[in-house]
Structures are given as structure tokens and as C-alpha cells.
Amino acid sequence: DCVRANELCAAEPSCSSRYRTLRQCLAGRDRNTMLANKECQAALEVLQESPLYDCRCKRGMKKELQCLQIYWSIHLGLTEGEEFYEASPYEPVTSRLSDIFRLASIFSGMDPATNSKSNHCLDAAKACNLNDNCKRLRSGYISTCSKVSATEHCSRRKCHKALRQFFDRVPSEYTYRLLFCSCKDQACAERRRQTIVPSCSYEDKEKPNCLDLRNTCRTDHLCRSRLADFHTNCQASFQSLTSCPGDNYQACLGSYAGLIGFDMTPNYADASTTSITISPWCSCKGSGNMEEECEKFLRDFTENPCL
């Protein structure tokens, strides 16, 4: 990972000095002119050969933020302007065998015999309540997100933090079951929509423009990384059966859950059981000449065959 690569680089004088130079190049406000500078270019070229270049981070690792900071400190210099899709700084999810087990746990609730009456979302909540860790962190975020004070609706920042803790620390067999339970009636679908306490974590007074929201997200290393991860793992692809990159449906679900608790928090748009629409809290109103780009960005959530 990048923390380790950073240590390796620090042990090597030429690498560490170039890395320092590059960081200075990127730190200034006028990044593009700085990067055109010979010294910065040279630093970039030398670093291309260092372990820092191909380093990645892991979701929920120790020092995740530090790792991502190292990653972006190099990669920001390489994106010439704004790219539509950015590559994920996270290691690809490859543990396919465990995926199958995890997916099995999600679908195990779909036993046809009990199908007609059962509410999978309710079952998922029961299952979570029977696990101490899941119960503790779930009630933690629910109480934080439902708290109402005199002046404000709720503390969105604290609510997001509690949600991130829940999705980072609770095994996905519990979290995915809550988030992606299948529904046959509206009550169940409403419960599914309410999973993340959308009134606090999702909805806002006004819907910002999606490109504006993306820009806000990109100023934050963690949010930027999770969004890039989502694009890498959930971008619809024509070359696979499930429309997911490499048929890795699990990786897409993981990236989706990874966005919860950030500015780009996605959720179910309504409690419909037939057509499931997912979207972040934004619209493409007021996009001007960027409407096409905005619609394209939004469609990755709303009309994504992989997701």
C-alpha cells in the first residue's frame, strides 16, 4: 500500500527528495503552471519508477486517510484537468470465493417457501439486532441521525460519521442485507429507503447541481477515492454478462456502500418495489452547457444496469 511505499521511498534519498519536490509543486494554488516547471517534470519522471507510483490503498485499512493522501499527492499531478472518471485508489476486490459466500447470505432470505409473507428488510434488521456489534453501531447511527436540536435539523456531519463507522466496521453480510434487501411491498421498500435515515444523511433543503456536488466531493480525499472506486467497479460494461466490470457484482455493491456517509451519499429515490432508482441528492437543473456531462454522471446512478 501507499503507506508502505512511502516508507520505502523515505529510506531512499533520491526518491524522498523528488517526492518532497513534487509535493511542493502540487501545493501551490497555480498547480498547472507549477507542473509545467522543469523541476516538477523531472520529479514526476523519477517518481514514475518508484514504488509510490503503483501503490494503492485498502478500504477500511489502518491509516486509510494517510494512505489516500499519499496516493492523491502523486496522482493529482497526473490528471491533466478534470477527468470524468478517475481510477480507483483502492486495491481491486478479488476475493471471489468469499464473495460467493457473502452473496449466498444475502440471497438465503429469498427462500421461495417463505416468500409471500416475509419482509426481507425486517429480517435483515432482526439479524443485525442479534449481532452485538451490528446492533451497537446501527443504534449508534440511528440515534445520532435522528437527533433534533432547537436550531438545526440534525448534525449531518456526525450522522455521516456514524454511518461510515457502521459500514466500515460491521461485516458486509449484515450491512448489505439491510441495504440491498429485496422487497415485494411498499412497507418493506420504505423501510429499505429509510435504512440510512435519509431525512438527515441524504435529503437537504435544496438539491445542488450534480457537477457542483461532484466538485465538492473531489475536494475531500476520502470522498474522491470512494467516488472513483464506485466508477471503477460499477461502470456499466458491455463486455460482461452482468454489465459489471469483470462480472464482479460484489465489488460494485461494496463501492456503493462505500459512498454512504459522504457528500455523494446515494439512496433509493422512492419506496417503489418495481423500479428501483438510486441517486445522490442532486439534479442536473442549471447545468448550462454541461448538461450532457451532468446527465452522464447522474445516469451512472439512476440508470446503471450493473448496479
Partner: protein
């Protein structure tokens, strides 16, 4: 501002196979002109971007400077392929190329022109497939959508070639022909000889901003015929070519300042329309493009008022099709609170300027007829008279004191004061909350109520406006009535402690008006706002707000004011204070917990006969 030449799409894509021969054409890039006579020159950046982390010098791809045809100059062998795939963790190897555009021949081989488009080449780890193995979709179109953008008000020109140069080169024995459907009456033309699609006239976004056509492709191989249809979309890009205009010609609005004098008050709003779009992202630059300025020399006016500008996307339908436009709203806002004595009227002009529109009508003048009326601080003609029961306890709420129109006031700070009476009888006080507009009269010293010599007490109330020091006075008479009841032994000092109807009405407590607490019988259905409880006065407690008097002592109305634990089914009130809704009966021990529970012991579950049976 002249844009110069531009690309009608942001991205192009094509596949490249191992050992494809040098000279193979890959794809055709087009440019559109800003003005007649411009000649496009294409140029390739000599850097292949493999992934964000790596790049490589380009040895394989070249572009024809005049025609925009990208071709393989040298075949990619397996070794090249492996080298270009290294470091790419994507399942599919893609290399990225930038193509630049200029109206002059390129002097230096640089990679930093503003006008560029991106070409994604997917490196396929196999030799080129046989034409017979390709589907009609693959023979006719690339994976990318056929979606283009054309700027409005620009000359006509060719912007796409339907035929894929690589397929045409590879599969010469196939007959592939195209058609553009749904193009009648639209400003686009398909040329069968070149398979080029061109725009035939200047487009106007304000008339139509999206064209949806269908590209149809027919592949013939001997007697076999296959057809594919894909959407062909053209978006028209906007430029600032419309002046601002007033809906219904309204350029004047009245702005009256009377009771609401608070900073931030919106006095009036005028609307300006513009057929152009205004992006809300980035917000600040759009605000700068469309300005609204108060025209005045008077420093008082510029200090006291400000103009707030918000804008929103709206739709116009010039000829059936919907087109986006902008609604700008200019709000005249008080920049500071205005004194109650201020009295003037004048016309305030706001100049709205569409700074990027190049024409004579780029600005509009808005007029606000401002009248600032003075308000008087005075009491209604009548004098106040309240009767107080001698059994009332401390913090019993007697009544409200309010100057004329006090409920309408905003931004005016009135303080109410009781001027001390000459007598020694002094049982009541006045309190007011920070945002409250009235004064609340309450019992401050209940022992005075017990004294027989105090019967009718005269007070003078004074209301003062903090800012102007203006004040008004009126008379208040408090009449004591009723006979003293004997106080029950063992009664708690708070009504809220009582859990049953009977014990509630036997006792008094802080805040009671007549010496006895009052029982509120709830609906008894689940967790409800109408829960059963014992209170000093049903009118004020529980009413969902912890008012100034209730907040003086936690024993008065914990149902509205508690911040402690509530045990049992409940919902908390605003700001986590009080019990908004509860299950069954809610009772509280002040400074400790509250409990909400169903009272099940009311009826005896089992009588003596029953007991023997069991």
C-alpha cells in the same frame, strides 16, 4: 468572444489489434468552425497515456493534419503490446491520446492547446477478427454513443463520418451502407458518398436545443442482409446571445417597511428573464456575469439596503419544443434593522446587467418604490385588568401584556417593565423571552396573595423600544379574589409528579392558578401528543413549548421543559426538550426522570371469586 475551431465530441474510441498492419486507418476526427474561412489542422500529442500513472512515447499512431484521419503508422507487435499494458490494472488495456486543433499549421509539437479531444484506443490481445465473425453492431458503430454537440450561431459544416475507417479497410468485400432517419425538416444532411453528416445551417439553441435522429446501418454480404439502428443525438451549445427582458413588462415594485424592520427582511422581488442558460456551477462566476447594482449617491441607502440575486432554470417553448432559459430574481433586502422613528419614501433603482451579452439592450433598470413608515409604540386604549385567585401559586401565568400590533413586529425590541406600586402588595412580575413580542405576567410571591389587606393593586406598565428609547405607559389593575383553601398535607410541589386523576386534583403545585392541579385525560391510543398528565394549567402546559415562565423552575412544567431521561414509550420535543408525545400517562420527578406508561392497575384484575377459582 470567438471560440475558434472546436471538436463536436469530447471523446472518440476504437479498437486496436495485435499485428494490425501499418497504414491501417483507425478513425476520423472532425472539427467545426467558428467563422468562415477557418481551416482545421489536427495534431497528435506525442505521448500515450496508459493509465493515470504512466505514459509512453507514441511510436504507432499518427494523424493527417488536414483530414483528421488517425491511423496506425507501424504495426503493434506482441512486445509493444506487453509494454503498453504494463501498469494498467484495468481488465482491458486502454491507451489515451490527445488530439489538438488549430487554425494554423502546428509549429511545435506541443501538448498544451486548450482545444483538444480524447481518443481511447482499446488494445485487444488478439489479432484482428475476421469480418465474418463481427456482428452488424460491431461492423457499423463503435461502442460509444453517437452524441455530438454543436455550438449555436456557427457556420455549417461536416461533423461526423458514419463509416468506420478501420472496418472499411478491413472488410472491403462487405457492403455497408448508412441512412439517417427522422432527419426530414432538420438542419442535418447525410452525404452517401462520403458517409459524412453535416449541419446545414446556423443553429439557434433558443429555438431548439436537442435533435434526436436515428442512424441506420445495413450490412450486405452476398444474400445476407443485417440492419442496426442506433440513436444519433445532437445537443446545441449555448452562448450569451439574448438580452434580459421583463416578464409582462413589470419593472416596478412597492417596498413597504412597517412592522417588519428586521435586518434580512425581503421587501420586494422583481423578476428578469433571459432566454440563455445560466449554469449554477460554478455559482460565483455566473453571479458575476449577471449583476444587479443599486444606483444611488446616498450613503444611507447603500448602507440600509442590499440586493440579493438568485436564479433558476425555467423552460420556454418557442415552437413546441422545450428550451431551457433562466429566471433571475432580484430581491430588495434590509441590510440592517430600521428604527421605529424612521420615515421616508423614495425610489430606489437597481441596474441589472448581462455582462456577456454583446448588444445595446444588455441592461435593464428595476425600480423599487420604497416607503418607510414610522410605527408608534403605544398600548391599546383600554387599561389592563386581571383577576388572580388567592390560591394561585408561584409561577402561575396570569396574562399577556402587548403593545399595539406587537405580534406583527419584527426587528423591534420592546421591553416591558412594571413600575413598582406604592403599596406593599407586590405579588406579580413580568417576564419576556428573547424573541417574544409580549410580556408575560405571573405570580412572583404567592404569600402576598394570602394577605387580606391586598385586594386590588394598581400598577403602571411601561413598554420601551430599545433602539429609539421611545416608550409608552398604561395602567394595570390586579384584583385578588377567592377565599383561601386549606393546603393539603403531603402534596408534592410539582403537579407533574401526580400519576392519577384523583391525586392530581387534590393537590396544588407550582404554577397553579386556583390552588389545584388540572388533569388532562388523553386519548389513550399508543404514543400520542394527547397523553394523560397532571399539569398546573391545561392552557399552557403541556403545549409543546417551554416558555420563559416554565423555564424558571423545572417543577412548573417538566412535560414541556425536561431535558432528562424519559422512561417508557415517548417522543421528544423540539430541541430535545420536553415530552412531545407519550404512551399512556406521563409523570415527572423534577430534576430527575420522567415516565410514560400505561396505567394497568386501574381495574382490579381479579376479584375474590376469581382468586378462589385460580
Amino acid at each position: 468572444a470567438a471560440f475558434g475551431l472546436y471538436f463536436p465530441r469530447k471523446e472518440y474510441s476504437e479498437n486496436v489489434y495485435i499485428d494490425q498492419a501499418g497504414g491501417t486507418p483507425l478513425l476520423r476526427i472532425h472539427a467545426l468552425r467558428d467563422s468562415h474561412g477557418e481551416v482545421a489542422h489536427f495534431h497528435l500529442c506525442q505521448n500515450l497515456i496508459i493509465s493515470r500513472a504512466r505514459s509512453h512515447e507514441n511510436h504507432w499512431f499518427q494523424i493527417r493534419e488536414k483530414t483528421g484521419l488517425l491511423y496506425l503508422s507501424k504495426s503493434l507487435d506482441r512486445e509493444d503490446f506487453n509494454m503498453l499494458s504494463v501498469g494498467s490494472w484495468m481488465p482491458l488495456s486502454k491507451v489515451m491520446l490527445y488530439v489538438f486543433l488549430s487554425s494554423h499549421p502546428f509549429q511545435e509539437k506541443e501538448c498544451d492547446s486548450a482545444t483538444r479531444t480524447t481518443v481511447f484506443l482499446s488494445l485487444i490481445n488478439a489479432t484482428a477478427p475476421a469480418c465474418s465473425s463481427l456482428t452488424a453492431r460491431q461492423l457499423c458503430f463503435t461502442e460509444m454513443d453517437l452524441s455530438f454537440h454543436i455550438k449555436e450561431n456557427k457556420p455549417a459544416g461536416t461533423f461526423h463520418q458514419l463509416q468506420l475507417p478501420s472496418v472499411h479497410h478491413l472488410c472491403q468485400n462487405l457492403s455497408i451502407s448508412y441512412k439517417l432517419l427522422a432527419a426530414e425538416g432538420m438542419p442535418f444532411r447525410y452525404n452517401e458518398n462520403t458517409t459524412g453528416v453535416s449541419v446545414t445551417q446556423r443553429l439557434d439553441r433558443e429555438e431548439r436545443e436537442r435533435y434526436e435522429l436515428i442512424a441506420k446501418c445495413t450490412v450486405r454480404e452476398g444474400f445476407r442482409e443485417m440492419q442496426v439502428e442506433v440513436p444519433f443525438l445532437v445537443n446545441v451549445l449555448d452562448e450569451d446571445d439574448s438580452p434580459p427582458f421583463l416578464p409582462n413588462g413589470t419593472d416596478t415594485a412597492d417596498a413597504v417597511v412597517e412592522f417588519n424592520r428586521k435586518e434580512g427582511t425581503v421587501l420586494a422581488t422583481l423578476t428578469v428573464y433571459d432566454a440563455d442558460t445560466t449554469p449554477i456551477y460554478p455559482l460565483e462566476s455566473s453571479r458575476k456575469k449577471y449583476t444587479g447594482t443599486i444606483i444611488t449617491d446616498d450613503p444611507w441607502i447603500s448602507e440600509t439596503f442590499r440586493v440579493e440575486h438568485i436564479f433558476d432554470e425555467i423552460h420556454f417553448s418557442p415552437n413546441g419544443s422545450q428550451v431551457r432559459g433562466t429566471q433571475h430574481e432580484y430581491k430588495l433586502v434590509l441590510n440592517k434593522s430600521i428604527s421605529v422613528t424612521e420615515h421616508r419614501s423614495f425610489q430606489l433603482d437597481v441596474l441589472v446587467n448581462d455582462t456577456e451579452f454583446h448588444g445595446p439592450e444588455r441592461s435593464v433598470m428595476l425600480h423599487f418604490n420604497v416607503s418607510i413608515l414610522p410605527v408608534s409604540i403605544q398600548f391599546p386604549n383600554v387599561t389592563y385588568q386581571f383577576t388572580v385567585n388567592r390560591n394561585a401559586e408561584r409561577f402561575a401565568q396570569i396574562g399577556k401584556i402587548c403593545i399595539e400590533n406587537c405580534m406583527k413586529f419584527r426587528g423591534v425590541n420592546i421591553t416591558y417593565k412594571l413600575l413598582s406600586p406604592n403599596a406593599s402588595c407586590y405579588p406579580v412580575s413580568i417576564l419576556q423571552g428573547r424573541e417574544d413580542k409580549w410580556g408575560s405576567l405571573y405570580v412572583n410571591d404567592s404569600s402576598v396573595l394570602h394577605r387580606p389587606e391586598c385586594k386590588e393593586i394598581q400598577y403602571t406598565i411601561q413598554a420601551t423600544d430599545k433602539q429609539s428609547r421611545k416608550h409608552a405607559k398604561t395602567l394595570l389593575t390586579v384584583v385578588l379574589e377567592g377565599t383561601l383553601l386549606k393546603k393539603e398535607e403531603d402534596c408534592p410541589d410539582s403537579c407533574a409528579v401526580s400519576k392519577h386523576h384523583a391525586e392530581c386534583e387534590e393537590c396544588g403545585g407550582l404554577g397553579v392558578l386556583t390552588g389545584r392541579c388540572q388533569w388532562r385525560q388523553g386519548s389513550g391510543k399508543g404514543i400520542t401528543t394527547n397523553y394523560s398528565t397532571c399539569t398546573p394549567s391545561i392552557k399552557t402546559c403541556p403545549d409543546g413549548t417551554c416558555d420563559v415562565i416554565e423555564s424558571k423552575d423545572p417543577a412548573v412544567c417538566p412535560q414541556d421543559c425536561t431535558s432528562g431521561n424519559i422512561i417508557g414509550g415517548h417522543g421528544k420535543g423540539i430541541g430535545n426538550l420536553g415530552i412531545k408525545s407519550g404512551h399512556g400517562i406521563c409523570y415527572c420527578f423534577p430534576r430527575q426522570n420522567c415516565y410514560c406508561e400505561k396505567d394497568d392497575i386501574k381495574e382490579q384484575l381479579c376479584d375474590d371469586v376469581c382468586k378462589t377459582v385460580i
